[in-house]
Symmetry: C2
Subunit: 347 residues, 2 copies
């Protein structure tokens, strides 16, 4: 954190908006008006559909500032929204950002947050075109709305999975959850004795997964290149099991997921052992992975097989077969979502 502390009140709301506005360089030529009017204006691309989603991160519920750098938080707030756009097999183009924060935060903190927001815009090729800054009585809330576009015939919903389709997951799962466990453990150690510095060595990968996740824009490009249009798709935010259940319910389908196919990173496996947790539960219910889960017709298998980013973890069955996990010893057990549910966990 910067040493200097400038109070927001010394800048005022309009001063703060101007400060943000000055940092923004628009990339898209389709923008007629960005920050600075009652609303932003852009030209929708011809023959494309518009995609919109919105997501809020709330202090104390979705993040803990004692171990979340503000720059990372800003980056993540954007990424989790872009992930939802990619989960429609669409391209993200624009974001708006609304932040509410108490006077505990100086101007320098808001600068850091926007550094992360603008870095994500840069990395993902999207433009910040509007937003809102307001004060709150306590805490920090960040809301991001992402706008994208896609050809209608490529848009992928949750409800299109068909019997015999293959279930595919990108990357690996469970690592973000283990990153969070490490952070929570070191926080407790630090609370017990603030002379002990957090021991985070060797955990870079899983810490990055929770603190600075990436959205799978690359997969949208890959699918396009492979000429594969998934039959259904969702991003993994609440946990793999919960997302599989969403796809099955919306598609009126059943599923068999194979325990031995779940992609878990070796670093995650070691940490899971260290914490004495069951690896399969972590992989299925960890959440916050921001990987893409999708289904494809079996005829697309030749196109996707062997790709290091993609793992086939099961296949879609008829609705009456239910949603099951096939364990290593080939026993079938009902898949349950113990997904992260903010309301249940925190109340």
């Amino acid at each position: 954190m910067n040493q200097k502390r400038t109070e927001i009140k010394d800048l005022g709301e309009f001063g703060l908006i101007n400060r943000i506005r000055e940092k923004v360089t628009l990339k898209s030529k389709d923008i007629l008006k960005g920050i600075g009017d009652d609303a932003a204006v852009f030209s929708p691309s011809e023959n494309k559909k518009t995609i919109v989603c919105t997501d809020t991160l709330t202090e104390g519920v979705h993040f803990d500032l004692s171990y979340t750098p503000l720059k990372h938080l800003g980056y993540k707030a954007v990424v989790v929204n872009l992930s939802d756009v990619y989960a429609m097999n669409a391209q993200a183009k624009y974001i708006t950002v609304s932040i509410s924060f108490s006077n505990r935060f100086p101007v320098e903190a808001i600068d850091e947050l926007y550094e992360g927001i603008l870095l994500a815009c840069e990395m993902y090729g999207v433009d910040l075109i509007g937003g809102d800054t307001t004060s709150s009585l306590s805490g920090l809330t960040i809301n991001v709305t992402a706008i994208g576009e896609a050809d209608e015939k490529k848009i992928t919903y949750r409800g299109g999975a068909k019997e015999n389709d293959l279930v595919v997951i990108t990357g690996d799962v469970g690592s973000a959850y283990m990153g969070l466990q490490i952070l929570e453990r070191e926080k407790q150690v630090f609370k017990a004795n603030d002379k002990i510095q957090p021991d985070l060595d060797g955990f870079d990968y899983i810490l990055e997964r929770i603190l600075k996740p990436e959205a799978r824009k690359d997969i949208i490009a890959l699918l396009d290149k492979m000429e594969v249009v998934p039959t259904s798709m969702i991003d993994v935010s609440d946990g793999l099991a919960s997302e599989i259940i969403h796809i099955c319910k919306e598609s009126k389908a059943g599923v068999d997921i194979y325990e031995d196919k779940l992609p878990i990173d070796p670093k995650t496996v070691l940490t899971v052992q260290d914490f004495n947790l069951p690896a399969t539960t972590v992989a299925l219910n960890g959440g916050e992975d921001y990987e893409l889960l999708f289904t494809v017709n079996q005829s697309d298998y030749e196109k996707i097989k062997g790709n290091p980013h993609l793992t086939v973890i099961g296949y879609i069955k008829d609705e009456n077969s239910g949603m099951n996990l096939v364990t290593r010893d080939r026993k079938s057990t009902p898949l349950t979502a113990q997904g992260w549910d903010a309301f249940i966990e925190k109340s």
Copy 2:
């Protein structure tokens, strides 16, 4: 408030989303997907530009639940965003709503909030196509993003005012501010003695202005019918003076505003006298009026004159003339924005 209290945790996040989803009936045929997937999808209209804006209302800063019914709050959260779309001379079409709230709020409270949100959607002909519900450690935050569209040649920015243009305000100003004064006064009376019921008789108009404001969709239709395209436009949220200054700064222009032309409702005048406040200050700096302030070329005067919704309050001058209020005794005094600034007022 409903007598029954159902805890959110008994419903869960997905249960709550489904409950909201069931209440929504989509009107626009351009929507391919509303609530219930990673993102919403719609077809942008041909040859139209897309307009986007977002605004957050935070408990304790923008509203006080001790005198704000949740249904009114939901209605207002939508209206203040639609107002920004209309201020671009555009039509509002879709909204997304994100709410964060603590477990102090039962399911019935969220139902009431959405009743207001959906009533506003009904009244203004817009569709709720997505959103997000999350918990917070304390308080209620509502973020609305509104999406609209317009012909490019009709879109009206803040920066287009030209010398000699007429400055026009719709409706009347200062009433919302006086409504707030009444509510605050009765709250203090009630706090001092909770046996005294609030005396709100006869204040219906000004109370409605603060608790259940309307956005001037009718003016967009009127301008269209009159074939008038304003040279600049903004909605009055922070106070008339503040908005005039925005237009002048963005247009690199000066202005003369005539004190005796400011439209103040007779009920507001009486309340202003009752509170011993200067009426002109209230009219210029009250805020939250959600009227439209715009400028038109003098050649359009014949079209707008005599319309009961429109009042010409001054004219645009060159930048060097400054921004001035011409008082009743024909003295010129610099116009200052003492507009509502959440950061200054609350910190």
